[in-house]
């Protein structure tokens, strides 16, 4: 294809204006994705793909229509534009209004010294194989799966308002899962490992063999341990669990579209005190350890958004449309999984701001509680309408008389987020932000790579399920 992507999109936008769209934008995306899986010291799969296409959004008489295609011939693109118009025209009595946003013309890239596409396949494979071999620490290990993920996501956004924003994000990482059997009991620990918005240099620099061995040891330890008795406890939450709970149980409720539809438990609560004084929650586009997200899929710059400040709800996350509907400014949170999808309001890197407590200080007065850890956890789910959350966490530790004691497994935590945040009574001084090339957050049938995290925090009341 000789024509540049800019002129291709420009032509589509000109056509959209001619046909009578009051606003239109077009997004081109090229996504390279490579995955290598080694299971039980053998290659399970080596797969690569390239995803390529264009999505067109047109506003006609106030209604939004969207169509996309991976066939970029002129004929097909014309038809796609027509489909977007047809979709918009089928919607009656709707007016979507977009709040003003700053129009940018810019190109940005995450740092990648070595493009994963330039690395010979055998070099990639040998790192994964070595890491997998290192997981077989003793006979209790029955299965070990190591995954390498390498992605490069290039997106170009252009609109009839004159925006032209190009973002390229490289994300690489390695994950591992081990299954152990101890005295007839099986347990598995899957860990998302480490991912960074860097090039292949990150994969070369990490000690993956120690990482996979540690996952195996944790699986062995967990297989030989019990579950805690169900009940309500004081818990110390690690950054991974905290980040996940915040993202799922509070983050989604702070998304403008969920607020605007009346579904959010945070509806109408701006300015209210919802959490204890030590709780400050932030959504930020570029932060160490997190996902690199400088601009959203409406061309709006993603800056630092303070959601909760010292316990008070300050802001919601917005797209241009929800900013208009709910009231507020677009915050750069309109994100689309890919060119096949319309942008919807999503979090970027959502975290709790650290304070000044040390780890030991936070557990010293816990008579009986649980140190809830994320490594090997299963994730979680939330009902945003009420704020009920549930999470399966990884192998954790009992806290007895102010000290860490035995390991427990099969731990599930649950609660109502607005109650839980009020019982946060100590916030640590550490900060860890996590993202992953493998996982992602799902909403409305779209996935997005996000970052989440925070410090260690102590929660006075948490419902814990187990066996």
């Amino acid at each position: 294809m000789g024509e540049s992507k800019e002129s291709l999109l420009e032509r589509i936008l000109d056509q959209a204006s001619t046909l009578g769209a009051s606003y239109a934008d077009a997004r081109y995306q090229c996504f390279d994705d490579e995955s290598i899986v080694v299971e039980n010291k053998e290659l399970k799969s080596f797969s690569s793909r390239r995803l390529n296409g264009i999505g067109i959004r047109a506003v006609v008489n106030g209604a939004v229509g969207y169509a996309s295609t991976s066939d970029m011939s002129k004929n097909r693109l014309d038809k796609t534009l027509q489909s977007a118009f047809k979709a918009a025209k089928s919607i009656k009595g709707q007016k979507q209004i977009f709040a003003e946003t700053k129009i940018d013309k810019i190109k940005v890239k995450s740092t990648a010294k070595i493009d994963p596409g330039d690395v010979p396949p055998e070099d990639k494979f040998s790192i994964v194989l070595d890491a997998n071999k290192a997981a077989w620490v003793n006979d209790s290990v029955k299965n070990a799966v190591t995954r390498l993920g390498l992605t490069k996501d290039s997106r170009l956004f252009m609109s009839t308002e004159g925006a032209c924003v190009e973002v390229e994000t490289t994300l690489v990482g390695l994950a591992h899962g081990s299954v152990a059997k101890v005295n007839g009991t099986m347990e598995n620990v899957n860990d998302l490992g480490e991912s960074r918005c860097l090039g292949f240099e990150f994969i070369k620099s990490e000690d993956w063999n120690s990482f996979t061995a540690e996952v195996s040891r944790l699986a062995i330890e967990a297989a030989g341990s019990k579950s805690p008795p169900p009940g309500t406890y004081t818990v110390l939450v690690d950054p991974t669990v905290l980040g996940l709970v915040l993202h799922e149980a509070f983050g989604h409720a702070s998304e403008g579209d969920i607020v605007s539809s009346g579904e959010s438990v945070l509806n109408g609560k701006l300015g209210e005190k919802l959490a204890s004084d030590s709780v400050t929650i932030i959504d930020e586009g570029i932060i160490e350890g997190g996902y690199f997200y400088p601009f959203d899929d409406e061309g709006t710059k993603k800056e630092k958004t303070v959601i909760v400040e010292d316990g008070i709800l300050k802001n919601f996350l917005h797209s241009r449309n929800t900013a208009h509907d709910v009231g507020g400014r677009p915050t750069g949170n309109a994100r689309a999984q890919d060119f096949d999808n319309l942008p919807i309001v999503r979090q970027t890197n959502y975290y709790l701001k650290p304070r000044d407590n040390k780890f030991e200080e936070m557990i010293e007065d816990i008579e009986f509680g649980i140190y809830v850890k994320g490594k090997g956890g299963g994730g979680g789910q939330v009902e945003t309408g009420i704020g009920t959350f549930t999470f399966g966490v990884g192998p954790s530790k009992i806290i007895r008389k102010g000290e860490l004691a035995e390991t427990v497994r099969g731990v599930v935590i649950s609660g109502f987020i607005l109650d839980t945040l009020k019982t946060v009574d100590a916030v640590g001084k550490d900060l860890k932000i996590i993202t992953s090339v493998f996982g992602g957050c799902g909403k409305d049938a779209q996935r997005a790579t996000v970052g989440f995290g925070g410090p260690h925090v102590r929660v006075r009341k948490m419902t814990v399920g187990g066996r």
Partner: protein
């Protein structure tokens, strides 16, 4: 060029480039997705295409995929796949690709109407479903809901067989609503997936959604306790019955063929041919015909499910369960087509009547967090009610139910209902009746 021709072409190009075996999977889907709450918010149409090419050079294999379907790109895909395969290590288990191509006759899986979706009819039907919720109770606020239809065309070809082609349609609706009264929030939700438009019960689902939201205004957590009977869906087996899990040491059902793994009232099968099933199709993602496979009969484990690769290792035939569950660009692996727990004779009303103290679970979140390897089952109940002396009493939410699935299956399945509901729980098509389970623990206040 037609999809079938592209698949054959890709195989040919891969062999020319030096592959000893090649399998092409070409997929075209057309999707319409509508998001709505009180009003229709957006309507989008998506046309997506892709090819996944799996090649072997001797015993070395690789997959390369692309979303672009033209001759030049097909050539490029073939070259890249072979280039990667050459440098990967040998897979000692590799024999050959599927040699048995055929179509099992299936019905109720294609709705011609969805080929040219009528946007106006869709938006009007959805608008009236929303009105139906609002008319049920003035306090109801319809919240974010989704409607989706898709038409899928798949062609599979390999070096042993010329391409075969299948078509399928899917329709799904996900409704949610909310009520807020005196500071108390309550939600309701219903969903349905089907293969044809006319199967979707728009009004019925809307009414049930509203009903649920109203009913659960009175819900509260209950105290913790043991040994409370509960009803949950059986979705725990899709991993452990997968031959790949068994062969790789991940399955708790390894070595259990022919043994009692469940109580005698449990009969479970996997059926890729059931009429209108959510994952019914004439052939699997390797071109192998689908079938009905008994998994558990009277509590005894009868079979695992296989693709060609895992079947070779156990010296059996593929069961037609090769699935590219994660997309055309991934390697096909065994996974269930439609898992069916066979219904018994009792109605769900009778089950409630015969329960002295129990929890009826309507809806949970987080059940997918359960661990199929250790069997640890847990879920948070968002919509449930207490059963006391055979009667429905207090609505309940915010409690965790937990148990060990394998123990439950062996001696916790007290009663199985006569109803049957299809769902896509955790991405697996499952049909299950109401089940009464003993030996679950409850964590509440």
């Amino acid at each position: 060029m037609k999809a079938t021709q592209l698949a054959d072409l890709a195989v040919k190009k891969a062999l020319n480039a030096g592959a000893t075996e090649a399998e092409a999977y070409v997929q075209r889907t057309n999707t319409v997705l509508v998001t709505f709450a009180e009003k229709i918010e957006n309507l989008k149409t998506v046309e997506s295409t892709g090819i996944g090419l799996r090649v072997a050079v001797g015993k070395k294999t690789a997959i390369y995929a692309s979303s672009i379907l033209d001759e030049e790109e097909i050539y490029n895909v073939a070259l890249k796949a072979v280039k990667i395969a050459r440098v990967t290590p040998e897979d000692s288990h590799w024999k050959n690709l599927n040699k048995r191509f055929a179509k099992t006759p299936v019905e109720g899986c294609y709705d011609k109407k969805l080929e040219t979706p009528d946007y106006k009819e869709i938006t009007e039907t959805l608008t009236s479903a929303v009105d139906c919720m609002k008319n049920y109770d003035k306090r109801i606020r319809p919240t974010r809901s989704l409607f989706i239809t898709s038409v899928e065309n798949v062609s599979v070809a390999n070096n042993h067989k010329e391409s075969i082609e299948r078509n399928g349609t899917d329709v799904g609706i996900y409704l949610t609503a909310k009520i807020e009264e005196a500071g108390i929030n309550s939600t309701g939700g219903e969903e349905q997936q089907a293969r044809t438009w006319k199967e979707i019960r728009f009004e019925d689902l809307a009414t049930k959604t509203a009903e649920k939201a109203v009913k659960y205004l009175k819900a509260k957590p209950i105290p913790s306790g043991n040994q409370i009977a509960a009803n949950i869906l059986a979705i725990f087996l899709s991993g452990p019955i997968n031959a790949d899990w068994v062969q790789k040491g991940r399955s708790p059902l390894s070595g259990k063929l022919g043994k009692q793994v469940a109580s005698e009232n449990v009969n479970l099968s996997d059926d890729g041919t059931m009429r209108g099933g959510l994952r019914t199709r004439p052939f699997d993602d390797e071109g192998h015909p689908t079938q009905s496979t008994p998994i558990i009969e009277k509590g005894v484990l009868k079979n695992y499910i296989y693709d060609t690769y895992t079947a070779f290792q156990d010296n059996v035939e593929s069961t037609g369960n090769a699935n590219k569950s994660y997309g055309y660009w991934t390697k096909p692996q065994p996974s269930p087509n439609n898992l069916i727990l066979k219904p018994e004779k009792t109605t769900s009303e009778e089950i409630i009547r015969e329960t002295r103290k129990g929890l009826y679970v309507e809806q949970t979140i987080g059940e997918w967090l359960s661990n199929p390897v250790s069997g640890n089952l847990n879920a948070t109940v968002t919509h449930g009610f207490l059963i006391e002396n055979g009667k429905e009493t207090q609505p309940v939410n915010g409690v965790i139910i937990a148990g060990n699935f394998h123990e439950l299956l062996r001696d916790g399945v007290e009663m199985i209902g006569n109803d049957l509901r299809s769902s896509m729980g955790v991405g697996v098509s499952t049909c299950s009746p109401t089940v009464k389970l003993a030996k679950l623990t409850i964590a509440g206040k």
